[in-house]
Symmetry: C2
Subunit: 143 residues, 2 copies
DNA sequence: CTCAAAAATGAAAATGATTATCAAAAGCAG
DNA sequence: CTGCTTTTGATAATCATTTTCATTTTTGAG
């Protein structure tokens, strides 16, 4: 799976005339080894741990490439930082965000997706992506 | 309706020990006269037109009060600016966001709301708010 | 393998939105 | 009015992100 994603990125890179570099490889490794919703800062720190010379501008730049390549997706929560999550082919999930402890619970709901398609169709709208976030308190925080 | 909202804000303000000021009144007026999804900058410019001395820090501060008072809701789209929309009691809508022309189409879907409640219940999650945004191309832009 | 062109990088400066600071002004209870 | 507290405007500070640009790497042609 990690191999598949790396391959996907290489294909993308080749098709765009992008070059293969040490820093892109290590950012990809770290990203792939990561749990969901990493911020750029978190990623930057992890990358630097294994590869001290990498600058954060490069991490920013590279994450945008991952998004273009379809490996990552931007997630904007409410903390003023852009986070990135893995894109798993054919899968889409949404988020329950706990405003108490910042936990994020993922869920999938096929019916909601279908309803979105219907709504879009009704408006002649072509869906590229969507984002559903439910804010509130998780079971631990609501008491 | 505008009267009702002003009243709501006054009640809120009173209950919080907030004072009634010229700038808050005029920011509220402008906000209420506004179409959906105003950015702070837009609001600031409009307020300044009728009331040149108002500073933008005040507009930022006051909008947060409106959110606390339940008159406004934050909407984060993809342009790096926080926007505010009116809260209409008992009504919630979501957005189709056209990435071509930045148009925003609102919609409501009762079934999606219900499904969200079910999902939350299943996770023991207490919903405070939610946000559903569908990105893509509107009928005019998709060709 | 060598080399020049093109692309990528790191460090630092720039940007843009938002927030904090603080002295002066305004609102309000008594 | 008076005095105390909140609010305000101007400006500085912050924070995430982007740009700039000189330098380093990569790559592909020869």
């Amino acid at each position: 799976m990690i191999q598949k994603k790396k391959h996907a990125f290489n294909l993308f890179a080749a098709s765009k005339g992008l070059r293969s570099t040490r820093q892109r490889d290590s950012i990809l490794d770290v990203f792939l080894s990561t749990r969901q919703h990493v911020s750029v800062e978190e990623l930057y720190l992890k990358v630097k741990a294994g590869n001290p010379g990498v600058g954060q501008a490069t991490v920013y730049r590279t994450l945008k490439l991952f998004v273009e390549a379809g490996l990552a997706r931007e997630v904007l929560l409410h903390d003023g930082q852009t986070r990135y999550e893995h894109v798993v082919a054919g899968e889409h999930h949404d988020h329950l965000v706990c405003t108490g402890c910042n936990a994020i619970i993922e869920f999938e709901n096929e019916t909601i997706e279908k309803l979105q398609d219907e709504i879009a169709a009704r408006h002649g709208f072509l869906i590229r992506s969507h984002k559903l976030e439910i804010y509130g308190l998780c079971s631990a925080c609501k008491n």
